[in-house]
């Protein structure tokens, strides 16, 4: 078994509407895989099918080597938080975790450990309905960790968290991955995913746009050279040089932006020097995951 998750042609149709169409991707074992896509692109539908909550209309899939048509074979090793936390408002955080621990047959001693791990040790005895959104989210993560999972599926785990909470979740995911846990995480915080996800699955309108390594996706994007002349009067001269050499370029923020690989930087610098223009700065900007996402999804 090399994949934590593997799906082929996975499809879900509701009446006339196709929520997921022939999705095929793999999540390598022991890695963090980001799952991104605009709202309504089919992320949660996919996650629900992987967890046995809804049945696929077509296609096949495996989770930890077991078919998704038998979720009872793999779910004891899977932790999940789907579409935000959902608990009993009249029970305390600790009681809520104990309900799930009883249900899964996990030792109740884990409850205290997990409350501490997510920073809720002082509020474990408070009723869930008194929790802030961030605390509810933390409790959801604690619940997902109850089975000491081999695969962790998290749907928007940083929703409602403050910057330090987001950082804690990022570190938690990193730690889990370093211990060998596979993590499949959907998030709208693409900058966060860029930092932690080794691979990505990108969806739009129920279709997989990209599935593979994050660095391959980013490397495939065309970089931008940003050239800043010593004197702004030379901006047009620089623009002219770039266009004459077949590059797409524009002027903005006191610099010339040229669509070109990093390798062309040295050539451009030489051409500018020969034309009598001194550059005060020449930088290469690689598109971020967020820019790539907007580019690919057309959002």
């Amino acid at each position: 078994m090399t994949s934590a998750i593997s799906v082929t042609d996975l499809t879900k149709v509701y009446g006339e509407r196709s929520a997921l169409s022939h999705a095929t991707f793999e999540v390598p074992l022991g890695t963090v895989c980001g799952f991104v896509g605009p709202n309504g692109s089919g992320k949660t539908t996919t996650i629900r099918m992987l967890l046995g909550l809804i049945s696929p209309t077509g296609g096949t899939g495996t989770v930890l080597g077991e078919s998704i048509s038998h979720p009872e074979r793999y779910l004891p090793q899977v932790g999940a938080m789907i579409e935000g936390p959902a608990f009993y408002p009249g029970l305390s955080g600790a009681e809520n975790l104990k309900v799930l621990a009883s249900l899964g047959g996990f030792p109740k001693e884990r409850v205290a450990t997990l409350l501490e791990k997510v920073g809720l040790e002082d509020r474990g005895g408070s009723k869930y309905k008194t929790y802030s959104l961030g605390m509810k989210q933390r409790l959801g993560i604690a619940a997902a960790l109850l089975p000491d999972p081999k695969l962790l599926v998290l749907d928007e785990p940083t929703n409602g968290l403050d910057p330090s909470g987001i950082q804690e979740v990022r570190n938690l995911i990193k730690d889990l991955a370093s211990e060998g846990t596979s993590v499949f995480v959907s998030s709208h915080l693409l900058s966060e995913l860029e930092m932690i996800a080794e691979s990505l699955v990108m969806l739009r309108e129920g279709k997989v746009l990209f599935a593979g390594r994050t660095k391959d996706l980013l490397a495939a994007q065309i970089a931008t050279l940003v050239a800043q002349p010593e004197f702004t009067v030379d901006l047009n001269k620089l623009l002219d040089i770039a266009i004459r050499h077949g590059r797409e370029a524009s002027v903005g923020d006191g610099a010339v932006h040229i669509v070109a690989d990093a390798d062309w930087g040295a050539t451009f610098n030489r051409l500018a020097f020969n034309a009598g223009v001194t550059l005060s700065a020449l930088t290469v900007t690689q598109p971020t995951l967020e820019e790539t996402f907007f580019e690919m999804t057309g959002e």
Binding site: L51, L75, L100
Partner: protein, 263 residues
């Protein structure tokens, strides 16, 4: 299944639910039993549907359980509400997905839930019995009821039989509530439908067309606790109640097993 049952019992024993339900049952039982004894010598109706239960009747062995079984209908309605809300709230709170991730066998979830609620029903009926018998014994001298026959083996065997019958009635109403909860997936809709049907529509229907009484589920459930009536036998009520509940439960169990959990 037993893991599910343990998890469900943890939810059922939360103070707001447990204490309020126990209080409702205890107060209703004490109230209804008191009326039977305080009005026993008034010559006016002090029993179910205006029946006159005289001190002479209450002095018999069956007098021990009269107060106990008179509350069965309201005990049933309480169970209906609890079973319906405990089932339907999993959908409205979105907690069903957590349950199914931790226990993917939906039939185990359903049977564990049912088992825990049966235990809850046993607790309710036990409280009903204790309160009713205590109030009966306390008020017997005031109503000039002699209690000698209450301590005979006949009375004790009657107590055992009534306990089982009241429990069956409570479980039947509770099962009805659970069926509605699974069907409507909303506590408010399930409880209001169950209560309006059992408390209002069945009473009107049974009152207007008396021949319908032997077919109405709520009337039959309650008839079990009463040990049968002059018009509808105990055996008939047991049979028709079981038929309704088995068919109803089978339908919702299939729905529960097959339905996508999309909320």
């Amino acid at each position: 299944m037993f893991n599910v049952m343990r998890a469900e019992l943890r939810k059922l024993r939360r103070p707001t639910l447990l204490v309020s339900t126990i209080l409702v049952v205890a107060v209703l039982t004490a109230l209804f039993t008191s009326i039977v004894y305080l009005r026993a010598n008034s010559g006016q109706g002090n029993g179910q549907r205006g029946e006159i239960i005289s001190p002479a009747i209450l002095s018999q062995a069956a007098g021990l359980v009269y107060g106990f079984k008179i509350v069965s209908f309201f005990l049933g309605i309480t169970a209906l509400c609890v079973f319906a809300s405990q089932t339907a709230q999993e959908y409205t709170l979105g907690t069903l997905r957590n349950l199914l991730v931790r226990q993917p066998s939906r039939m185990k979830i359903l049977s564990g839930k049912y088992l825990s609620m049966v235990i809850f029903a046993i607790a309710l009926v036990t409280i009903d019995a204790i309160v009713a018998i205590s109030v009966s014994y306390g008020l017997a001298p005031h109503a000039k009821v002699t209690t000698t026959a209450w301590f005979t083996s006949t009375a004790l065997s009657l107590l055992g039989r009534t306990f089982i019958n009241v429990l069956l009635t409570t479980i039947a109403f509770g099962t009805f509530g659970m069926i509605l909860g699974l069907l409507f997936r909303s506590p408010i809709s399930a409880i209001s439908t169950g209560v309006i049907w059992s408390l209002i529509l069945e009473t009107i229907l049974g009152g207007v067309v008396s021949s319908t009484q032997k077919w109405l589920p709520g009337q039959n459930f309650d008839n079990i606790a009463q040990g049968g009536s002059l018009t509808v036998s105990y055996q008939w009520s047991m049979g028709i109640s079981a038929a309704y509940l088995v068919v109803g439960f089978a339908i919702v169990a299939i729905l529960f097993k097959r339905r996508d959990v999309a909320n």
